[in-house]
């Protein structure tokens, strides 16, 4: 017993000593974690893959901009690397438009052109859209070719997902008139799911933070908003502008109608923020955990070694968690959308 605690003590002392002695040798530049994380979760004009022997390996993506003065121009983003300018367009390094393509107009002002570039996120979006179309149309074709047969394997999985969403989520939330919304809600579900899953893959076809971008979630939430309010019943609007509440909450000051009216907008807004924040946070955590390895290089060999193990372990754990979150968020978005549609269909 005494021997064991003794040896443990010596081991600890040795480790601490190693930590201090080796830390002297570290003299590399500090790792800017914030920069790394933000550059990964934000959009970019090039698809950065890795750095090999000091050379950046990237996929050059098309830039499509329309200047007010000069009209449309189209070029590839490798022309803008290392602060180079192409046709008066360059990447801003500071200011409101940091990281975006800007131009210097004839008056010498820095302005942002209309930017429809196929950025990393747009390309990721296209890739995942292609995958979704392929998967669903392939499944549909299988059903056409094999009438009255039960699929197995991957198509069986898709069928299970579709049936589960239809029977447990859509039918339950909307009720008898659910068939109209089937296509929209299922599209939303598979769109978010595939984008989330592809986002977890760290290398090229994946890795774009599509569903962790507010523009993407915003469009999805806006679609839900439109669907909810376009097919709402008369009773739904009555509930908003003349809710069942004591009269003093409605008449001199329309408090309840105001609250209800805001609710119309806060529901899709919450949808947008929830999906965006969940996916972005997941990416951030995984990136931060990975960066832990590079931060601790300056703290000595043993700390770095220990932190590497911790980091890999936690990254693996977080990836599993993200897998769950990817499915969960797609499910939640669909479920809540279906619920909002169901609420807008109140009768009596």
């Amino acid at each position: 017993m005494n021997d064991i605690s003794n040896s443990r003590l010596w081991w600890m002392i040795g480790m601490i000593w190693l930590c201090f002695t080796t830390s002297v040798k570290a003299e590399s530049s500090p790792v800017d974690v914030q920069e790394i994380v933000f550059s990964h979760i934000q959009d970019a004009y090039t698809w950065h893959i890795t750095k090999w022997n000091g050379k950046e390996i990237t996929i050059s993506l098309p830039v499509l901009v329309k200047s007010e003065e000069r009209g449309w121009s189209f070029f590839f983003s490798h022309n803008l690397h290392d602060g180079n300018a192409y046709d008066n367009y360059y990447l801003a390094t500071e200011g409101d438009h940091a990281g975006k393509v800007v131009e210097k107009n004839s008056r010498g002002e820095v302005v942002r052109p209309l930017d429809l570039s196929l950025t990393k996120n747009v390309c990721g979006l296209f890739i995942s859209c292609t995958i979704i179309l392929f998967i669903i149309l392939w499944t549909a074709r299988w059903y056409k070719k094999h009438p009255n047969e039960v699929p197995g394997g991957f198509i069986g999985l898709i069928e299970t997902a579709i049936c589960y969403m239809q029977d447990n989520v859509i039918k339950g939330a909307i009720g008898k008139d659910y068939k109209r919304y089937n296509s929209y809600l299922l599209t939303v579900f598979f769109f978010i799911l595939i984008n989330n899953l592809i986002g977890i893959i760290p290398v090229f076809p994946g890795g774009a933070n599509v569903t962790g971008n507010i523009a993407v979630t915003g469009v999805l939430a806006a679609c839900t908003f439109i669907v909810v309010n376009l097919f709402a019943t008369k009773n739904y609007w009555k509930e908003i502008f003349w809710p069942k509440a004591p009269i003093y909450l409605k008449l001199p000051l329309p408090i309840m109608p105001l609250v209800e009216f805001f609710g119309v907008f806060t529901k899709p807004f919450a949808l947008m923020i929830r999906l965006f924040a969940n996916i972005m946070a997941g990416h951030t955590i995984i990136l931060a955990l990975t960066c832990l390895i590079f931060i601790t290089t300056s703290m000595g060999l043993l700390v770095n070694f220990g932190m590497t193990i911790v980091s890999v372990f936690f990254s693996a754990f977080m990836n599993c968690l993200e897998l769950l979150v990817a499915c969960l968020q797609a499910y939640i978005f669909t479920l809540l959308s279906a619920n909002y549609i169901g609420l807008a269909k109140v009768e009596d």
Partner: protein, 166 residues
């Protein structure tokens, strides 16, 4: 915060691509799949119902077959019973017939024997009569005429003798 401000380009492409995906999938994707699944469900339900009906029919047929078999067995039994009684009757009839015949034959035989006997007796009597007449003739030395009166007397005498004997 650039994280929270949507980028116009991405917004545009997102609307375009999501819209396209939505339109394509709601035309050629999900409705096709859901319809196929529903059709399959209806087909399976239908098949199950048909299988149930067939099973019921089969059970009916089985029952009918059992009934037919039972009937046949009953009929067979009845026929056998009938045959047995018939056989017994035939045997009985044959026996009675045979008995009757035998009896008749016996009576006929006795009758014939009787007749034979009577004829024999008659023959013997005429023989005896002749003999007696011859004897009497011989005895009376042809004095007595062999007319009918004497013969009648002898016959009567002989009758008396045979009646007293029998």
């Amino acid at each position: 915060m650039s994280l929270l401000t949507p980028d116009l380009g991405l917004l545009f492409w997102m609307i375009v691509s999501f819209g396209m995906v939505l339109v394509i999938l709601s035309k050629y994707g999900f409705p096709v799949i859901i319809k196929a699944i529903e059709q399959r469900k209806a087909y399976i339900d239908n098949s199950l119902e048909q299988a149930r009906l067939v099973k019921e029919q089969l059970a009916d047929v089985q029952m009918e077959a059992d009934k037919i078999l039972m009937d046949a067995k009953e009929k067979q039994h009845a026929i056998l019973q009938e045959a047995i009684t018939e056989k017994e009757k035939i045997i009985y009839e044959a026996r009675t017939k045979a008995e009757a015949e035998a009896r008749q034959q016996i009576t006929e035989a006795t009758q014939r024997i009787q007749e034979e006997k009577e004829r024999a007796i008659r023959d013997i009597r005429s023989e005896i009569t002749g003999l007696s007449i011859t004897i009497a003739e011989k005895v009376i030395k042809e004095k007595i005429d062999s007319s009918g009166k004497q013969q009648q007397i002898i016959n009567r005498l002989l009758d008396e003798v045979s009646f007293s004997k029998s």
